[in-house]
């Protein structure tokens, strides 16, 4: 499982970080940093919640 960010869509609001703080962190300049691009299976639920929470649909989970 891999997290993909569409940088054209991401506005750096941080809804994903609120859902999954271990996976995402918005930097002080407003850009999104993915802390772990290949989350473990036990983080799937948090990762899916983060993807769902994004108001601009900038996140996708790709199965490896």
């Amino acid at each position: 499982m891999r997290i993909v960010v569409d940088r054209d869509k991401c506005t750096g609001l941080g809804m994903c970080e609120a859902e999954a703080p271990d996976l995402f962190e918005v930097q002080d300049d407003g850009t999104l940093k993915v802390l772990d691009e290949h989350p473990d299976a036990d983080q799937r639920e948090a990762a899916e919640a983060a993807v769902m929470s994004c108001p601009t649909e900038a996140l996708t989970l790709v199965e490896d």
Partner: protein, 431 residues
């Protein structure tokens, strides 16, 4: 107004007759939200994207206004909100027709599209990221505690909740973030309230809506001007300093840009949270078992609870977009120039998405409400701050004066904000 696109006028071509299920009348917007939802429910079932006559009794009526499409289903609100290529904000976002000079003075990036929207919004969004709000967490808790301190032990056990609790907290947090000195805080709060009160007869008194709105915008621009000048000379760590120092496309913001930014933020940052907390104590009075359920395990239950506070209150009722690309919406042909109005409280009562939408259910999960908008680039910037303030406030209330009862809210008569002017609130005082 967007500087990037040419203005596309509305047209009455290819339109059905105005819907007999009317949501444009002034009388409709003075009803309670429960009464209004009876009509929205009919539209959701019978005509989910309906062609409506122009809003009645507009502040600045346009004789050539042919009407608008009313979007009332949750899925369609999301579709329009997320498709900012087809549905733009640059031709205005208010449902009511307002004077252009008022819009110019108050809307800032709310009524812009990419790329300028993106650039301006980012200047302020960096102050609202989860990490920034976490840094503010202690400050928010102290503010909530002190607001509740001001009345919790009052032996009368009775206050006006809006004046003494719901308003002071967000006003204080907003003023702290912008670095507003104490002497200007009351004036700021009053003017921010006036900006959204254009259709409320009591608030207007003998003044016209235009006078009240423009007066409030001038007041806020004056405050912004004074603080902008000061921060240029004496930079500090508040948001005014950020705005003064910011560069967009290699240029500093003008005083007017900063003023409009400040008007937008003063409304967005104070009014919405005030109404949400007021409507929530009322909901907790009407659904006492929900209050008990939340109290029993506050820290673990407040996350879903907060989303339900916002869904149930739905304080922002309407925003508009303008179509610039021909699109089909629920079988209707929407063409360039058409106004499309999103009715968020209706989306939040959509039975296709929410089981028993009329119930205040703090365990509702998932809760994909549209109280912060239907998604897309204009999604509420301050949602994390709002949730932080509500979390801290209700922690205080439910710990210290859990035995409370809210009376009937006195509602603002507008088609924009589901606002509470006064709310009688009785409680067993803290010892």
């Amino acid at each position: 107004m967007s500087v990037d696109t040419e203005f596309i006028p509305a047209t009455s071509e290819h339109k059905p007759p105005h819907s007999p299920i009317d949501v444009s009348s002034k009388a409709f917007w003075t009803q309670t939200s429960e009464q209004r939802d009876e009509r929205f429910a009919r539209l959701r079932a019978e005509d989910p994207v309906s062609w409506q006559r122009p809003v009645e009794d507009a502040v600045a009526p346009d004789p050539n206004d042919p009407g608008y499409w009313a979007v009332v289903k949750h899925a369609d609100i999301g579709k329009v909100s997320r498709d900012s290529k087809s549905f733009i904000s640059g031709q205005g976002v208010q449902f009511d027709m307002l004077p252009p000079e008022m819009l110019e003075a108050s809307q800032s990036f709310l009524a812009m599209d990419a790329p300028r929207h993106t650039l301006l919004r980012k200047l302020i969004s960096v102050a609202f990221t989860p990490r920034q709000i976490t840094r503010l967490d202690e400050q928010i808790k102290v503010a909530a505690r002190e607001v509740v301190d001001s009345f919790a032990a009052d032996p009368s056990g009775e206050i006006d909740f809006v004046e003494q609790c719901a308003e002071p907290l967000p006003v204080r947090l907003f003023c702290d973030m912008f670095g507003i000195p104490d002497r200007l805080r009351e004036q700021t709060a009053r003017a921010a309230g006036d900006v959204v009160s254009w259709a409320d007869p009591e608030r207007l008194g003998d003044r016209s809506a235009g006078e009240v709105i423009m007066g409030a915008c001038l007041t806020l621009h004056g405050i912004a001007g004074e603080l902008t000048a000061d921060r240029r000379a004496n930079p500090t760590d508040d948001l005014f300093t950020n705005l003064v120092q910011a560069e967009v496309g290699g240029e500093h913001l003008t005083d007017h840009d900063i003023g409009a930014f400040f008007v937008l933020m003063s409304v967005a940052g104070t009014d919405t949270t005030k109404h949400t907390s007021s409507l929530t104590v009322k909901a907790m009075t009407d659904f006492p078992q929900q209050r008990e359920w939340l109290r029993a395990d506050y820290d673990n239950r407040i996350k879903t609870g907060l989303e339900e506070f916002v869904r149930y209150a739905s304080p922002v009722m309407t925003f508009r977009r303008t179509a610039v690309i021909e699109t089909e919406l629920a079988g209707k042909r929407v063409i360039p120039g058409d106004k499309v109005v999103l009715f968020y409280p209706s989306g939040n009562r959509d039975g296709d998405v929410f089981a028993h939408p009329e119930r205040f259910d703090l365990s509702r999960d998932p809760n994909p409400h549209v109280g912060f908008g239907g998604g897309g680039a204009h999604f509420c910037l301050g949602n994390q701050l709002a949730k932080g303030a509500l979390r801290a406030l209700f922690s205080e209330l439910l710990t210290r004066i859990p035995d409370f009862e809210a009376g009937e809210p006195d509602l603002l008569g507008t088609n924009f904000m589901r606002g509470v002017k006064r709310l009688p609130f009785r409680f067993t005082p803290e010892k």
